[in-house]
């Protein structure tokens, strides 16, 4: 039986609760967990001031309630499972290195920034800067996998270096901006300026999009690695037409202002 955390008092101002994380709860009794520190704005409070805690502390945590104003859940986690039974606030899974976070609703901005490993699955939408680097950082996500079934906003995978981000719906502007390596797959439409400043890495979209003037069309082909990725996505519950899986893709190389070793692959029926 997992550990259940149920929000009983809605925070008036943002609640910072990085203690909701298997690593920080490891080996703690329910009493200890109740006394974990959270920050309600600038006030130091206890987890029990906001959450009702029950069940077994076995690395499997289920969190329920309106968590839109609850920040940093699962940040730096390295093992276990956190299930969010609804929406979650900013910085969920920041710098996580292992384990899994399942968000049944929507995620806010900064989902899994600077992620090192592990997995995140979002059934709904996510905000800006999924798997990105924080401002000033030149390296974003360095490993792990993020699966979003809905839409995302801007700067998905900003300066990512390794790992996989999959978006079932649409993405905003600057998808894969300043990417160093890694893979981003967007099933729906992407916003403008995809891959701006990318050095290496692959951005794959199953929908046509505008391309920056600094990208050039290299070829039209049917790469095996995309097939493998798409089969993998089918297994992960994404709905992909078999025509696409075997289809052709335009390969655009860029960004010419950088190393020109990145690629944007667009489905070309």
């Amino acid at each position: 039986m997992p550990l259940h955390l149920k929000l009983h008092t809605t925070p008036e101002v943002p609640l910072e609760a990085e203690c909701i994380c298997p690593d920080r709860m490891r080996g703690l009794s329910i009493d200890d967990i109740n006394r974990l520190i959270v920050f309600h704005g600038n006030r130091e409070m206890h987890l029990a001031d906001f959450f009702e805690c029950s069940g077994n502390n076995d690395g499997d945590i289920r969190v329920a309630g309106d968590l839109v104003n609850v920040k940093h859940v699962g940040s730096t986690m390295s093992f276990g499972l956190i299930t969010i039974e609804g929406d979650i606030g900013v910085h969920a899974g920041a710098a996580m290195s292992g384990g899994k976070i399942l968000i049944e609703g929507n995620a806010s901005d900064w989902l899994a920034p600077e992620m090192l490993g592990g997995e995140i699955e979002v059934r709904g939408n996510a905000g800006h800067l999924v798997g990105s680097g924080y401002r000033g950082s030149t390296v974003g996500m360095q490993g792990g996998e993020i699966f979003i079934h809905g839409n995302v906003k801007n700067e998905t995978g900003h300066c990512m270096r390794r790992g996989l981000i999959v978006v079932g719906g649409t993405s905003g502007d600057f998808t894969g901006v300043n990417m160093l390596a890694g893979t981003i797959i967007v099933i729906g439409e992407m916003g403008t300026r995809t891959g701006a400043g990318m050095k290496r890495g692959s951005i794959i979209s199953l929908t046509k999009t505008s391309i920056l003037p600094t990208f050039s069309l290299a070829c039209n082909y049917s790469p095996v690695f995309i097939k493998q990725y798409l089969h993998y996505l089918l297994k992960k519950g994404y709905d992909i037409d078999s025509k696409i899986i075997n289809g052709h893709f335009e390969r655009w190389c860029g960004d010419a202002v950088e190393l020109n070793r990145g690629e944007v692959l667009l489905y070309a029926d």
Binding site: D109, W110, H128, N154, E155
Partner: protein, 111 residues
């Protein structure tokens, strides 16, 4: 008609705010929309007519005046920053702190 609204600074807005932002001159300056004359003609507008600006965020009522066609291309309108432009401004800052405050897509109609 759909248009792109560009709020910005103008010298008059700059000088009038010294009197006070609750004073008539500033309110009038920031409620005056500059348009391309062709667009005005399409909407059967003359200088000083009232228009309604609208988008998903909100709406604002302002007066319009014509600009020289070369200065302001058709499809684009200019307004000095102020309370009316705020009404149309979306609050999402996309992780930057900055709302999109210029280049807002709006619907314009004659009152």
């Amino acid at each position: 008609m759909k248009m792109i609204l560009i709020p910005g600074r103008s010298a008059k807005q700059g000088t009038s705010l010294n009197h006070g932002k609750l004073k008539e001159e500033y309110i009038e300056t920031t409620s005056t929309l500059e348009m391309n004359p062709d667009d005005m003609q399409k909407l059967k507008l003359s200088d000083g007519d009232s228009v309604r600006l609208k988008n998903a965020t909100g709406e604002a009522l302002v007066k319009c005046i014509a600009k020289k066609p070369g200065d302001l291309p058709s499809g684009m309108a200019f307004i000095p920053y102020g309370p009316p432009s705020s009404q149309l401004m979306e609050s999402d800052t996309a992780g930057s702190g900055m709302p999109i405050s210029k280049h807002m897509e709006i619907e314009i109609e004659k009152l």
